[in-house]
């Protein structure tokens, strides 16, 4: 780690001006991705602007048709939230399956979304549920937000303030954990939304993506059988020491089927 300044502003405007003060300043959420990068000297910010002292960035609000999660809300808080467990259990389960207890107690949803790690879990939920990313400058639709590996539509100095999840009719997430890191080797989020079935895949490629072939098959009939015999292309899929591209392609199908079975078995329709 190199030396850097640390500031903990109490308001969003203060945070924005701290970030604006130096192009090398970085926002700090839970530090679960940023701090390891600092330790390995892969990142060398001039200052860390800790967002966790800003009260309005933290917390969970439930409206009639949406769940709004403040950017610095931890994974553990999402996993245990009664209203989320009730209205969108797939999201609570996803949050409860991230990393380990230490990571879940520190890591924040805003940090995951801003980081856009290709193997992170939340991006699949945001994309499948058609969430919007509220920021210091306005709002982004999930469909336009995740632009590439560790790349998002955020402008320099833009702060994620909250994520707004429309409550779907039904949803389920299935994750195949990477044996070592336990990030998603492949994760598939299936949601039945007002606009139809949406399916997002994380871990498999350089960035989370929607699986149109699965969406249209499930659009015809929402059943695991609809996915039988579908072959997924290996084009653009990741290959590493844990999984080659054909295995990832195969897992997309397996996990999608399992997610649909789970979604149908829970029987809950919002």
């Amino acid at each position: 780690m190199r030396t850097f300044d640390y500031v903990r502003p109490a308001t969003l405007p203060e945070a924005l001006s701290a970030l604006a003060a130096s192009p090398e300043a970085r926002a700090l959420g839970g530090g679960m991705s940023l701090v390891p990068a600092l330790k390995l000297r892969l990142a060398a910010p001039s200052a860390l602007v800790d967002l966790r002292g800003i009260p309005e960035l933290r917390g969970i609000r439930i409206t009639d048709d949406a769940i709004v999660i403040g950017a610095t809300t931890t994974h553990a808080d999402v996993a245990a939230h009664p209203a989320i467990l009730d209205r969108l259990p797939a999201l609570a389960a996803l949050a409860g399956g991230i990393g380990d207890p230490q990571v879940r107690n520190c890591g924040t949803i805003g940090g995951v979304v801003a980081n856009n790690d290709p193997s992170a879990d939340y991006p699949a939920a945001l994309l499948a549920l058609g969430a919007s990313i509220e920021t210091s400058r306005g709002s982004h639709a999930a469909d336009d937000f995740f632009t590439g590996m560790f790349e998002t539509a955020l402008a320099p100095g833009e702060i994620v303030t909250a994520i707004r999840f429309p409550i779907p009719k039904q949803a389920a997430y299935e994750k195949f954990k990477s044996p070592a890191s336990r990030y998603a080797l492949v994760g598939v989020f299936v949601a039945v939304t007002a606009g139809g079935v949406r399916v997002a895949v994380t871990g498999a490629a350089s960035c989370v993506f929607r699986a149109e072939m699965i969406e249209s098959a499930l659009g015809e009939r929402l059943a695991p059988e609809s996915l039988e015999g579908l072959r997924f292309s290996t084009d653009g899929l990741n290959a590493d020491m844990h999984a080659d591209a054909p295995f990832r392609a195969h897992l997309i199908g397996v996990l999608a089927r399992r997610a649909v079975s789970k979604l149908l078995a829970t029987g809950k329709v919002n």
Binding site: M1, R2, T3, L40, R41, F176, P179, A180, S181, Y183, P224, E225, L227, E228, D240, M241, H242, A243, D244, F247, H250, L251, V254, R257
Partner: protein, 795 residues
Amino acid sequence: MNARTGIGASLLRKEDLRFVTGRGNYVADIQRPGMAIGVFVRSPHAHARLLSIDTTAAKAMPGVVGIYTGADLDADGVGGLPCAWPVTGKGNTPSKEPVHPALARGKVRHVGDPVAFVVADTMVQAKNAAEAVVVEYEPLPAVVGVLDALKPGATAVFDDIPDNVCVDWEVGDAAATDAAFAKAAHVARLSLVNNRLVGNPMEPRAAVAEHDPSRGSHTLWTTSQFPHIVKLLMGNFVLHLPQHKIRVVSPDVGGGFGVKQFHYAEEAVVTWAAKKALRPVKWVCERSEGFLSDAHGRDHVTEAELALDERGKFLGLRVRTIANMGGYLSTFGPNIPTNLYGLLLAGVYTTPAIYCEVKAVFTNTLPVDAYRGAGRPEATFVLERIVDVAASEMGIDKAEIRRRNMIPPDAYPYKTPVMMEYDSGDPGGCLDRALAAIDWTGFGKRRAESASRGKLRGIGLTTYIEACGLAPSRIATRLGARGGLFESATVRVHPTGDVTVLMGTHSHGQGHETTCSQIVSERLGIPPENIEVVFGDTDRVQFGLGTYGSRSAAVGGSALAKATDKVIVKGRKIAAHMLEASEEDVTFADGRFSVAGTDLSKTFQDVALMAHYPVDYPLEILEPGLEEQAFYDPVNFTFPCGAHIAEVEIDPETGVVSLVDYVAVDDVGTVINPMIVDGQIVGGIVQGVGQALFEDCVYDESSGQLLSGSFMDYCLPRADQFPQITVQTHVTPCTHNALGVKGCGEVGTIASPATVINAVVDALAHLGVNHVDMPASPNRVWRIINDAGFGQTAK
């Protein structure tokens, strides 16, 4: 008292209070006045010519105390890191021992090879300066895999070893083995890989060194399993410092698994730099640096053939192995895939003819050396896998084929065709108990139940024997060891009868403070809380050979037993004087010296006091004081053996293998502390299952970059992946040491990889599978299932 605290008692571990309350004293905890921090600049290339190192800019940076390179070490006459156990190959050719400089000279030979050492006031300053050291490399092609290293025209790791062969070694009788194959009714054949591993003890390595110019002395605190040997190798061969001017201290050490039993470059460089800089210097390895600097384990490619008669009796075994030595020889490198491997290939069977050839080769990877089990897991894997292959091919039950070939209980001592002489053992008894514990015959039902849930279930069995209690010096030196492997123990009795024990072994997780106390408690009849066990400081313990190879109880414990015997001998003399009896009439039991046939007696404490306050003492026949040292050199190895059985379930859709049941019945000789033995066996099994299912040290074949260089990619086993493991012991005492102990530290890692892979193969056998390489990862298992045209359909 002895039932509660002596041999056989599950005494809670004395050391745990300090560990679980954060009061351990590890090397990283050590602070010295004026201490500076050192970091190593390491090669990013697997193989490159080292053209120049420019430290000018770095030296000018804030806080820098000194920056040192191989040239500075050369200028001071610092030597290379020695190999302590070379071996002799075919045609009496000794293993090649290329110079292993502490900081690279001329070339770098693996990613992580240290090229410079930067010392500064603070860690941040040292790291900043390290980044400013400019090293000019001319990258060369790298050779990574052992098969590639042997290809004609392969890149030579050392210019003067063009074929990359360190040694071409053999054991056994080639002609007799050929003859056995000529008359075989069936020959089973198998090619396999023993995957490369990273040891990853919980505490990374660390070193702190200090030089006292007024006394010309050096102190090194290091995370070593083997402090006396660090002192000897570093002092005598690397830094040329007199032995009486060096103190090496290994305080609390958080796990070793073999990784910390070698003399490492960092220890010598830190010690040397502390003198050069005239400042105490500390280096603490980071985890990612550990992946690039700790010696690795295993890494064999093997072809094996087993000849059988029509009844499934083994006639002959032929094994050809290529073993990776890495870019330099580590301290014991050549010994591991030869003596500790080939000599174990008889297993528990009566195979009359065995021939094994091992080529140890250099590659552009980290040095490979002993890792928990060291050679013996590899031997067990080859043997127990090919026995299963033969059983499947011949349609013989896996337990039955083992029984048919097992050394009968009355055949011990048993001489194998590969030099070993087993003193005792009852693997058949272990097997019977293991089969009963897992309900071997009821497996069909469990398999059907798993199938009803869409899972493939398999069962796997291993019967094994290993050689530990390293080592009888007489045999070890004949096999190439450049030193004895005896052990020392001192029992220092204080005037009050309290005891300090000084051990030459080293505890780094094994609980020696408890087990050594139990041995003393048992023999001297004093409570464990009156006994302090000291180890790991060359100024306090006169000499010792450390802990590895499951030797601490068998060799160290035997030395301790011998030292307590000497205390009793002297105590009887003192008691005889006090009781005005003749020495022959004085007996010792339960902490009391008594005159036979009378009610006269003195306690151990009375005698201890008399030894230190020698009133009316018969000085002409007795010296005051009560302290005895014993050196013990075993006459043979010890041979733990046993039977392990695993059951796995495979999800055919994803290739995920789940371990669902595991039974281990081991003969570890006399059990000193059942709780500790249980912990050692379970821990060993988990580590071995790690190799079988999860762990894989992977290098990029072309660049030589380490792909599994952090826990993000290197997969250690975790608690949630394990069922309750059933551990039983089935004791036949060792016949040649006083305690009857054999050893329990490595049996788990020796038996479990073969056991689990046998179960995985069993689960897939109906697909025509006869082998699965380790780790049986989801991708690998799915690929096998998929290639067999199975697992496509949803359940």
